[in-house]
Symmetry: C2
Subunit: 349 residues, 2 copies
DNA sequence: ATGAAAGCGCTAACAT
DNA sequence: ATGTTAGCGCTTTCAT
């Protein structure tokens, strides 16, 4: 076997080296390096610190994790980091993670059950101190069975399972009120005088889509108006297709409610391309909170979701739970808001 | 000491449990589980596999990493995951990482030297199998000294240090030709008849900014035109401010070259707000490859950078090097391209 | 206040 | 083909 590369040679400094140099036992070194509460003479402490510094000692986090059973790693499962929606969440997780000394591992699942399951297992193998599921829950049965089983191992290790959406396995949650979000968006359009409101759904394999649809249905029922549904996928193309469908209609909705930002953008681009003026001909409102809705023209009116905070709060809660400071399997609900921009206008006819 | 949470109790299945159940030694279990080349009787293998399955055995990646000295974790240092520029890179890294069995740890540095240094140390503590620096290099002196020292430990562990920009410490690289990128963008404008071309720079603590500026300077020199520089920061606001500066000028450039997408977007929004028509009054070209330049109106002409591929290729190369299949400390250069959209037009006067 | 020694869960020689 | 054993680098009783 050819050695992979010859240049490497210097041995990593380990606790024993420091101990020797400081003329103490490794236990003492361990105590001062890891800030143990165990008493250590100030002089000794000094000597150890100096030796450690001179040898440029960096304790192995792996060895430490192994014995303490705390890896200080957490995994966050997202659909796609390139989706600004998830990017904001990940950033929130990462910021508080770093502050508290946690490493965050990003797992892109593309919403595929088996990929996601694979990742969950791997994170368990690494004894991740917790796992955060961003986005809505998958409904695939086999997935649920497998995942639920693996997540029990997390529980057994006191590694909290956090969800930011409604998942179908036991978990702690930090979330927004998915039904109200859409309901509020619809209400906003209704207050502007719209009644013929189209709705672009999310993909139907995700729990969030269901809940959001309920919000829309409720709003429509209240005004006694029929539902006007366009099947979406939370992607740019879904919005684009909806736009094409809409334009092909004889009787058109006067307002469109897209259940996420990406589809709203796709829809806006599609409508404009097909000669529909926003909001003169059709009003458009989205749900999300990613910045690009702001730069497009017209800037899109949105229900703002606190994405960054969702991630940050999930991470904080995870840590609290892991430290035994919070026992309830409760769901924390974060508030959403409305950002009025130029894509919506009162109905005028 | 109060136990943090009482519910947990089930012990994790370990290799020894499987060995007992299968009636073999732990070495044999190890051999079949880790797919060792060491011969194992098919019958025995079967028994082990069955036992492992029955006990739902999941080997500790931590223990394995410790003894093999391969953690199968890599860190990727980015300015900000929320920046689509970095998001694309991270996705590239992650996709090939997953395929090859690597976990990727995302570190947001916000381009701050001490944050970045902190992360590098931590990644070393975890014995990351490699580290990828996305984005341009920092020039801070103290940072460089510290980082260079820590990165030597990566070398000593045969953990490749990869950079996607021009960094000031030894590393393997996958990058674009920063000078040519800008030069090509300028050439495009020049071919459209523009001569009075403004340039929005990147922040001056980053190596990439320098290189890009050289590309601009060279293009201007070739046509004997004076440089017209607006100080930027690679952020939306930088572009916005540049727009304000430009509008306040008596004699205005006829075209603007923004050294990244975000600033181009900021600039476009700013110019439009101040009544400047793009491209009728001023042409605008950007450098990057993030999708939002496509949705804004007018869609922005850009030099396209292969961001995803930069990440993917860096990860591939990292693995190759780690396996000893590639020794050269060479830089791989990936090609850029031009995407013509609606923000540029021939000069007409 | 310090040290010795027993693990944490695994792999990799080295026997047999 | 299988088993024994010595680590990997640390923390943590349990002595002293």
């Amino acid at each position: 076997m050819t050695k992979s590369s010859g240049r490497a040679s210097k041995r990593r400094t380990k606790i024993n080296d420091v101990a020797k140099r400081a003329g103490v036992s490794i236990s003492t070194v361990s105590r001062v390096i890891s800030n143990s509460t165990h008493p250590v003479n100030d002089q000794t402490r000094e000597r150890v610190l100096r030796a450690a510094h001179e040898l440029d000692y960096a304790p192995s986090a792996l060895a430490k994790a192994m014995v303490t059973k705390k890896s200080f790693m957490v995994g966050v499962i997202v659909g796609d980091t390139m989706d600004p929606f998830f990017a904001a969440i990940v950033r929130g997780v990462e910021d508080v993670g770093r502050e508290k000394g946690f490493l965050v591992i990003v797992a892109n699942s593309d919403r595929k059950p088996d990929l996601e399951y694979q990742y969950i297992k791997t994170l368990n193998d690494y004894q991740a101190d917790g796992i955060i599921f961003a986005g809505g829950g998958l409904k695939d049965e086999e997935y649920l069975e497998n995942v639920t089983k693996t997540l029990e191992k997390f529980q057994n290790r006191d590694a909290p399972v956090m969800t930011l959406g409604n998942h179908l396995f036991p978990s702690y949650g930090v979330m927004v009120d998915n039904e109200m979000i859409i309901y509020d968006a619809a209400q906003y359009l209704i207050k502007l005088g719209h009644r013929k409101i189209g709705y672009i759904t999310g993909p139907d394999n995700i729990t969030t889509s269901e809940l959001r649809l309920v919000g829309y249905s409720r709003a429509m029922q209240e005004i006694g108006e029929k539902e006007w549904i366009f099947a979406g996928d939370y992607m740019y193309d879904g919005g684009l297709h909806a736009a094409e469908e809409i334009v092909a209609l004889n009787e058109k909705p006067t307002a469109i409610l897209a259940s996420n930002d990406r589809m709203a953008i796709g829809c806006a681009v599609g409508l404009k391309k097909l000669g529909v003026r926003i909001p003169a001909d059709i009003s458009l409102i989205s749900v999300g909170g990613i910045t690009s809705t702001e730069f497009i023209s017209p800037p899109i009116t949105s229900i703002y979701l606190p994405l960054y905070d969702l991630g940050a709060e999930a991470m904080r809660k995870l840590i609290r739970i892991r430290e035994g400071k919070e026992e309830r399997l409760g769901k924390t609900i974060l508030k959403h808001g409305l950002v009025e921009r130029a894509s919506t206008a009162p109905l005028n006819n």
